[in-house]
Point group: C2
Chain length 327, copies 2
C-alpha cells in the first residue's frame, strides 16, 4: 500500500461511490419490523435531504402462513406500505428491498418494475444458497430492477468455497457483490484481503464490490474505510448504527468521511438525534459485551440478543464461558 | 504491507507488548478525579487478575493554591492515597502516574523511587513544552523511575515541528514515545504514517513507540490495532473505554485481540459490567454526536463536553455549525 498516494487521495472523492441506508431494514431485526410510519418517514426525509443514493426500506418476505401482527409491515414491504411513506418518491433516494433466498416468493411477490416504486432488489443468501440467489437475480433483472447480492456470514466460509461462490456470482446479473460481515467478526486486515479477492472476481465482469459491516468489535466504520480504500464502492450504513445486535456502520461517521460535496451531513445528525437515538433504550442495539463476545468468536449474535433481552441481566463471565465452549 | 505475512502473525504474539490501563487517570477528566476507593480498587483488582502490565492511577499535579474538594485525590496521587488502594502492590501491575509539563512541581512532588510504590512516570507535554518535558524525564529517571513521554494533540502539529520534536525526545531518557490522538481525529492511514515516523526516531535510540487513542470517530480500537501491526508495543486502554469525551480504546476489545496467553479477559469483563458501566450515566463518556463533530474537525473536545453537560440538550445542527465556523 502506497501511503503517499492514499494520503493524496484523502482530499478528493470517488464519484462511483454509492451510499445505501439500511436503517429500517437492518434495524427491523431488533423490533420485528414494527417501526411507526413517523420513524420511516424521518429516515426517508433525511436520506432525501442528505442525498444518500439508496434507502433500503425493508424485506420482501413470503406472506404464506404468516401470523397477523407478529411482524411489522417492513418485513413484507407491500407497494402500498412503501408508497404511504415515499409518495411518488420524486427527488428522494432510490429505493431498495432485500429478498432472502429461501424466504421470498419472488416470482409472485416481486411485480414488474413498471408497477413498483422500488429500484433495487438486494438478494441475500448464504453460500449454499447461491443457485437460488442466481435465479432470484435473474428474475428481478428480467422484471426491470437493478440487483445486487449479499453473500452473508462470509467469516464462516472457507477460502475454496468462497472462490467458487464468487466465480458463480460474478456471472450473475448483480451489479455489485457485497462483503457481508454478519457476525461483526472481521478485523481490518481480513477486510482488505476479502475486498481484494471480491474485486478480482467482480471487476473482471464489470461489477462493483460492496461492504456491509457490523459493529460487534467497534470496527464497522473502520472496516468500511478499509474497504473504500481498497476500492469497494457500494457502502451500507445506518442512522446511529441502528441494526441487529451491535448495529452497523453509522451513517453519520460515513458521511463525515466522504468528500463528495453532494452529501450533506446535517440532516443525518438531526435524524439521529431526534428520531433514532430516542429508540435506543427500547430497541437495545449498539456495542455491548455480549455482542463483543459473539463477534470475537465468530458466532451469530442470537445468543447475545437473548442475553440482552432477558428481564434480569445474567452473569457476563458465564456468558463468555458458554460462548467459548460452544466455539 | 505483505498481507500473507500479517495473516500468519495473526495467531502468534509479540512478547514485547505492554498494556497500560489508564481508566482512573483518563476517566478522572470526566469527574474531576472523584472516584470512590471502591472503583479504584476494582480496577486495580481487574488489572492484577488480568495480568495487565501497568495501571495508571492518576496525575501527579501541583498542590500549590489548590482548593480543597475541587478535585479528587487522583489528580495528585499522594503516596498514602495510592497505598490505600494497592497495599504493598505485590503481584499487581506496575503503577504509573502522569505528570503534565507545566502542571507538576516534579522536583519536590516526586520522591525518590525507593520511597514510592510508583514504577513509571509518564510525562505529558504539548510540542512547545518539550524542553520542560526533557527536564522532567531526566529528574524522574535520576530518581529511579521508568519513564515514557506522551506528546499530546499530535494532530495539531506540523510535519517539520514533529520531526524536530521527535529528534529531541529520541535523545531523552524515556523508554517509549507515545502517538497521542488527544482529539480522536486520526484515521487509520494517518496512524500508520505517524507510527512509522515515530518508530524511525525511537528505534534508532533503542526506544519503543506507544499509542493512546480516543474514540470520537469510533476508531480508537481500530487505530490501536493499526499501531500494533506497524510495531507499537506500548498500548493504552481503559475499562469500557472510560476516558475524556468519547473515551479511549476499550480494554475488553484490546485483551480480546492480544494472543499472549498471559492476559485474561474475564476479570476485565466483570470489572466493566459490575463497576464501570454503572458509572456511564453519571460520567457521560462514550461515542456521541458532539464528540464525533469535534473529532471530525480536529478540535479539543471541550465544546462537546460543555454541550453534553448542559441541563437541556441543545440543537445538534447549531453545534455542528458553531464547530465548523470555529474551524
Amino acid at each position: 500500500m502506497n501511503i503517499e498516494n492514499t494520503a493524496a487521495d484523502w482530499l478528493s472523492y470517488r464519484p462511483e461511490i454509492r451510499v445505501l441506508d439500511c436503517t429500517i431494514r437492518d434495524g427491523g431485526l431488533m423490533n420485528n419490523h414494527h417501526f411507526e410510519d413517523r420513524v420511516v418517514k424521518a429516515v426517508y426525509a433525511a436520506c432525501t435531504a442528505s442525498k444518500i443514493d439508496y434507502m433500503e426500506i425493508g424485506y420482501r418476505a413470503s406472506r404464506k402462513d404468516i401470523q397477523m401482527g407478529e411482524h411489522g409491515c417492513w418485513k413484507y414491504c407491500l407497494e402500498e406500505d412503501i408508497r404511504r411513506i415515499v409518495g411518488d418518491s420524486i427527488g428522494g433516494p432510490k429505493l431498495s428491498i432485500m429478498a432472502d433466498a429461501g424466504k421470498c416468493d419472488y416470482r409472485e411477490d416481486i411485480p414488474p418494475k413498471k408497477d413498483s416504486v422500488v429500484d433495487l432488489v438486494r438478494v441475500a443468501c448464504y453460500i449454499h444458497q447461491i443457485p437460488a440467489a442466481l435465479d432470484m437475480l435473474k428474475d428481478a433483472t428480467n422484471k426491470g430492477y437493478e440487483t445486487t447480492v449479499n453473500l452473508m456470514a462470509v467469516t464462516t466460509v472457507g477460502d475454496r468455497e468462497l472462490n467458487d461462490g464468487l466465480a458463480m456470482l460474478a456471472q450473475s446479473e448483480a451489479q455489485a457483490i457485497y462483503v457481508v460481515d454478519s457476525f461483526g467478526a472481521l478485523y481490518c486486515e481480513q477486510v482488505r484481503r476479502l475486498v481484494a479477492k471480491y474485486l478480482m472476481y467482480a471487476r473482471a465482469e464489470g461489477k462493483e464490490v460492496g461492504i456491509h459491516a457490523h459493529n460487534n468489535l467497534q470496527l464497522a466504520y473502520a472496516n468500511t474505510i478499509e474497504a473504500i480504500i481498497l476500492g469497494a464502492n457500494y457502502l451500507d450504513a445506518t442512522m446511529a448504527g441502528l441494526g441487529r445486535g451491535a448495529g452497523n456502520c453509522p451513517m453519520e461517521l460515513l458521511l463525515g468521511l466522504l468528500r463528495n460535496p453532494k452529501y450533506n451531513l446535517v440532516p443525518v445528525l438531526k435524524c439521529v438525534e431526534e428520531t433514532i437515538e430516542p429508540l435506543r433504550k427500547q430497541l437495545g442495539w449498539g456495542f455491548d459485551l455480549p455482542y463483543m463476545i459473539t463477534g470475537l468468536f465468530n458466532q451469530h449474535p442470537r445468543a447475545a440478543i437473548k442475553f440482552n433481552a432477558a428481564t434480569e441481566r445474567g452473569d457476563i463471565a458465564d456468558f463468555y464461558e458458554a460462548v467459548t465452549e460452544a466455539h
